[in-house]
């Protein structure tokens, strides 16, 4: 057991007073793949934004044993790679290659090292040779994979994906699942897609009103919370 994420009594309220996290306690071990379920507005995205210091609430967040602070923020952001929900927001550079190289360059890599890291990451996600393409020329699935490459190029130990299957068609979704399964990183996936979670994750956390109300093996959490297709059983015929 080697915990890479340790969160204790994490609380956070947005400036308008909305309490998004209300005492979150969780420990995640190295190599685990964890799905984060829960209704919209239950605090899942707010929680993951604390993992690389984009938000800072009350309580304690430790990454690889170290508490997050201004001093180690650069290293923490290298260790925790976040793929955001909207790929267009993440692909902000003029070309795919420059976008994927953005992270390594910020970490101090030389242009040549960054280009090599970008080429390797693009190859890993099946976009080899697309370095010179403009992001607006990519399909939704390609954008999603390019955004993932931008994070993989930083060689993170923890991979956080926020709603990775949003706007993907079934083949795109399948391709993404195939891509995620072999990744060796510890994975946290915020999703409503229980099928994706079944393929990739062994454990699930269920968020409600800023708290984790259920934590355990994926199927158990789905059964106990009546999440996923079970939630539709009460729908009108």
């Amino acid at each position: 057991m080697n915990p890479v994420i340790q969160v204790r009594s994490l609380r956070f309220a947005y400036p308008d007073g909305t309490r998004a996290l209300d005492g979150v306690d969780v420990t995640i071990d190295s190599g685990e793949s964890v799905a984060l379920f829960g209704p919209n507005g239950s605090g899942k995205t707010t929680f993951v934004l604390h993992l690389n210091g984009l938000l800072a609430g009350e309580g304690e967040v430790r990454i690889c044993g170290e508490p997050i602070g201004k001093r180690n923020l650069r290293r923490i952001r290298q260790q925790v790679g976040v793929v955001f929900q909207h790929a267009d927001d993440q692909l902000f550079m003029p070309t795919v290659g420059e976008d994927v190289a953005f992270g390594p360059l910020n970490l101090g890599a030389t242009p040549e090292e960054a280009q090599r890291a970008a080429a390797a990451a693009l190859n890993q996600v099946g976009l080899a040779g697309m370095e010179r393409r403009a992001p607006y020329h990519l399909s939704a699935g390609e954008k999603r994979r390019a955004a993932l490459a931008g994070v993989l190029a930083m060689a993170p130990e923890i991979l956080v994906l926020d709603e990775p299957t949003t706007a993907l068609d079934p083949p795109g979704r399948l391709a993404l699942i195939g891509l995620l399964i072999p990744l060796r990183q510890t994975k946290l996936i915020v999703t409503h897609d229980t099928e994706l979670a079944r393929h990739v994750c062994g454990r699930a956390l269920f968020f409600e009103k800023g708290k984790i109300t259920c934590d355990g093996p994926l199927e158990q959490v789905i059964d106990r919370t009546q999440w996923g297709s079970a939630a539709l059983r009460g729908a009108p015929a």
């Binding site: 003029p94 953005f102 910020n106 242009p111 607006y136 994070v151």
Partner: protein, 249 residues
């Protein structure tokens, strides 16, 4: 969706495409400055510079018609300024006074058109990232370059959003913006602004998540070659020759 692709000709392979962006930016700057500061012999100068640019366009393999048409974008602006100036000269009691003579007005339009042609050639033969890197190395403020980069990147995204909003309005019986009136148009623009603002927040967050510290990192090294020095020297020599010729003719 209809998108205006600004980088259509960037991937051609020509001597001009291969040059260092700094050389091209400086040569373009010299041409524009020369035209702006010129006072006499404008027919010869504008014609000479236009001929030089046309030969460079042919060398770059970018279609000449494309460049000539794209440079026309400047005409409504310079034309309006010239029309206002002419109005000051001809209309009794007009607000503007001391306007241009018809010859000077024509020269002003020609100067603006040829300057725009030079800029079109620069943009058509230089990828945006190289252009920004060149400007960065020529000490243009980083914040300005970031604004240009994001404007270019998200112009298409915002234009698509505007088209989606327009579609949604029309599908519920609304007309286009012109027929729906100023109030509807203003509402749509306000919504678009709020969405752009929210998107800017998300982009900033995504940048921070990948280690952004306030300045764009340099993605590659630029190399000044003999070709760049030759371009600069030939451009300056040609402009000097035009100036000299205009003094004697």
């Amino acid at each position: 969706m209809h998108l205006i692709l600004l980088d259509h000709w960037n991937d051609l392979d020509s001597p001009l495409h291969r040059l260092d962006p700094r050389g091209k930016i400086l040569a373009t700057g010299a041409v524009v400055l020369f035209l702006v500061l010129s006072t006499g012999g404008l027919g010869l100068k504008c014609g000479g510079v236009a001929a030089m640019l046309a030969s460079m366009i042919v060398l770059s393999r970018v279609p000449l018609g494309y460049c000539l048409a794209r440079a026309c974008l400047v005409l409504p602006f310079s034309g309006l300024a010239v029309a206002a100036s002419l109005a000051g000269r001809w209309l009794p009691g007009a607000y503007f006074s001391g306007g241009l003579s018809p010859e000077a007005a024509l020269a002003a339009v020609a100067k603006s058109y040829v300057s725009a042609l030079a800029v079109v050639l620069l943009v058509a033969t230089t990828r945006l990232s190289e252009l920004l890197r060149g400007l960065q190395m020529l000490r243009v403020p980083g914040t300005f370059l970031l604004i240009v980069q994001f404007l270019y990147r998200y112009l298409f995204v915002l234009s698509e959003e505007a088209q989606h909003m327009s579609c949604a309005r029309r599908s519920r019986g609304g007309g286009n913006w012109a027929s729906s009136g100023l109030r509807a148009a203003a509402g749509s623009i306000a919504v678009l602004f709020v969405r752009a603002y929210a998107r800017a927040e998300r982009i900033h967050r995504a940048m921070l998540a990948r280690g952004f510290t306030g300045a764009l990192p340099a993605g590659y090294r630029l190399r000044w070659s003999l070709g760049d020095s030759t371009l600069m020297a030939l451009t300056l020599a040609f402009l000097a020759a035009l100036e000299a010729a205009s003094l004697f003719l």
